[in-house]
Amino acid sequence: MEINKPKEALFSKKNRKLLKDPMNINNPITVQVLGICSALAITVKLKPAIVMSLSVIVVMALANVITSLMRNMIPNRIRIIVQLVVVATLVILVDQVLKAFVYDVSKQLSVFVGLIITNCIIMGRIEAFSLGNTPWKSFLDGIGNGASYGLILIVVSFFRELLGNGTLYDYPVVEKLGLYDLGYHNNGMMLLPPMALIVVALIIWWQRSKTPSLIEKD
């Protein structure tokens, strides 16, 4: 009987897997190669990348929970529209919050906050996960995927800001270290979008060399 089934613990092994898997073997950016556009656009500096990651985590977790709550009520035919309405509402909320509290960063992110709506990771997770799972699991899945998206974003922007701009979170690291006096110069290529792609590729390379299960057999 349904009632006799023991209740699953909040952080059971299965649930922890939902948080952990996206970090490595199912990473949305480096394994599924989703959400690349924003990874290229807003990783020039650390600060916008962090704000963007937080926004995506919030939107993703809430969107997952909301669609999961409605999963039995949504007619299959119009599910994409319903999902879009949910995500769009959340994105508008996030956008307003950013404008109210961190106006300069929201200026830098400009259109990319709005474009969270079209972030393939969010739609992908709703379609693939939250439409068929309970709210708590969907919440964990949203947090896990959002955080691992953010992790890659922050790693990429760390290298791009440090090597391209000589700063970290707008703190002039290279100048304080006195490297400029030794003849060091910032690498302008790092500020251009192609370098973001190459940094992501290097992360993928490193990750695959560490986790052999990801390497496709041919």
């Binding site: 003849g183 110069h185 690498n187 302008g188 290529m189 790092m190 251009l192």
Partner: protein, 401 residues
Amino acid sequence: MKFLQNIFDSARPVVTTGKLKPLYPLYNALETMLFVPDHNAKSGAHVRDAIDLKRTMITVIFALIPALIFGMFNAGYQHYRALGLLNDAIGWLQFFTLDNFLFGAIKVIPMIAVTYIAGLGIEIYFAYRNSHAVNEGFLVSGLLIPMTMPIDMPLWMVAISTIFAVLIGKEVFGGTGMNILNPALTARAFAFFAYPSFMSGDKVWINTTTGQGEALVDGFSGATALGQYATTGGTTYSAWDAFLGIIPGSIGETSTLLILLGGIYLIATGIGSWKIMLSSLFGAIAISLIFNLVAPNMISPEQQGFLSIPFYFHLVFGSWAFSTVFMATDPVSASHTEKGKWIYGFFIGFLGIMIRVFNPAYPEGMMLAILFMNVMAPLIDHYVVEGNVKKRLKRLKLSTK
């Protein structure tokens, strides 16, 4: 030679089975570079040719040497001329002097050394990691990279560009023979976008550091001919000087005459593809003639001036000659089909001159044109092969009817 052979013979047991086994790729590379290897295929049908990859690469090096030596003389010449130490009236007589050569050599040789150390370091590491022999591909790239750099390029920038080119441009695709882009141009493009203030503008082409306290005329501008065209629509250098090569520019690119000699040598030995060189010439001439036609319609006088220069100016200024002879003909990244080579070469000349004229920020359009056509080469090949298949199918149909 006997003495060298003895060294290799005595070292063989140590590196093949002994303590220094990790060094075997390096040993193997050095040995096969100095001596013709004696191992040959045991079975099956093989094309027998005296020229292997190492001999090919060495031929290209030989073709590059005149332009390189000239570049060293030129670096010194431009330096002393900028300092006002030369008498312009006797011009040529002061070109081939020991002072000029030494000045250039002191600047250029460390650059070459750094390129080889950085590039070969990565190559040897990957050879060791994947346990295969060190490939010869870097031999030419390592000489080409410094030749495309301005004389004052800091060595660490050369090293970083080289490492980037070898790692991202070549090794990730599978090493020598697998790269999509020309590694030497990848290095230059990286340096160009990463450190634009060292790779473009009018201050970088001539070394103007004063040696023994001589003062330099303030605001000395050593713009290249193309730089001058982009800003003023005219140039102070004559086409003849540019043909001989006594103008400022990247180290190896200035002397069209010596590059031409190198090109003839490459064609004569069958290493470089004459189809690519010739079609690049056609492309450059075609676009220059089109520009001459439309020049009167341009609004700004600078553009009018740049558009209306005769085609042979485009061939002697900038890097058209160097890129066409040494970069475009790289057998790995170029088109492989014979018909494809015509198309590939034509567009290199065509696009290179077009970028150079229309975008003043990139006076070196040749670099971008070649990288672009490198990417397009497989597509060209695909359609050439498809076309051939179609043609033969048609013929088959006709003959069986």
